[in-house]
Amino acid sequence: METLAMHISNGIIDGPVAAVFAAVALAAMAFCVLRGRRDLDDRLAPMAGLVAAFIFAVQMLNFPIFTAGVSGHLLGGALAAMLVGPWIGALCVAVVLVVQALVFGDGGVAMLGLNVTNMAVLGTAAAYLLIALLLRVLPRTPAGLGVTAFVSALVSVLVASMGFVFQYWLGGTTDLGGNLGSLAGTMAVAHVLIGIGEGVITATTVVTVAKVRPDLVYALRGLRSAPASAVPAVGGAR
């Protein structure tokens, strides 16, 4: 099997910018720990471990995206936000990225802050804002839940990819000769297509979990009528 680099490699973004984003990522993760602890009880902790392990597994599954020679894979921010909430969800994605950088040689260790900022922070934040909005306006049915998962996943991938473009604008190591727009365009097109795959995977997984154990879906907490089930949602339990 060929090299499977999925995240920002060493040398792509310069050192100072990478260091700034390492600080940004660290601060964001510290905040997530503080805020997320409120959610993190005996039931959510093992579920969060599972979500991280599941994201690691599905990130290995590169799928073709209908443009020649390009693949995509799950980022996981929306999936994590739906299943375990935004704070613990962002931490789940970050743990995956740390394991990949330290053990699997994927994504430079010096680039970890950039990768965490894009996928764990921006991706999860964008997803959760949309989840909170869509779950309020869409019908509380499996279809409504699926559409919420799909849309939030698609947008979160696009936002994460634009995070990289912004970082490249700040500290990209190759002078694109003012041609950042073409990099942004290439990234956007590829990641809209990847986002469709992310949306399908996220919606399928979330709807399945909601059918089997609606009480384990964070996004359904506090909603009176849980989709696809007669089991009442655990009333706003935190």
Binding site: A45, A53, I55, M60, V99, F104
Partner: protein, 130 residues
Amino acid sequence: MRKRPWGFVVGGLLVALFLAGVVSSFASSHPDGLDSSLREGCTFDADDNITGGSCPAQREKEHEIGGPLADYGVAGIDNDLLSTGLSGVLGVLLTFAVAGGAFWLVRRRGPGEEVTTDRQPASRGVPGRE
């Protein structure tokens, strides 16, 4: 009633192990969206080496660590199926141990859960107490 999550977690882990251990070998081996965007402008030979042109990927440097599981394979195992699958299985277990362990350690031991005296084994179907 608060059902315990352990049965679901074990089931989910088995699915993850299957995906990372078996399905991963059939994943697309083309560069992903990020990688391919950074390779725009360069030409490559069959072994993925840059043969000409100019693109951001040219500035890529070696990984600091590498390690025996680098690039989602196990060093020393030549069989691609086995190498990829085994690295995936190890990755899932390691990620679950690190994330699950860390979250378990920092979890909130608040009222209503009775965790201080809770020594029940992790079995499903035990009805939760009020």
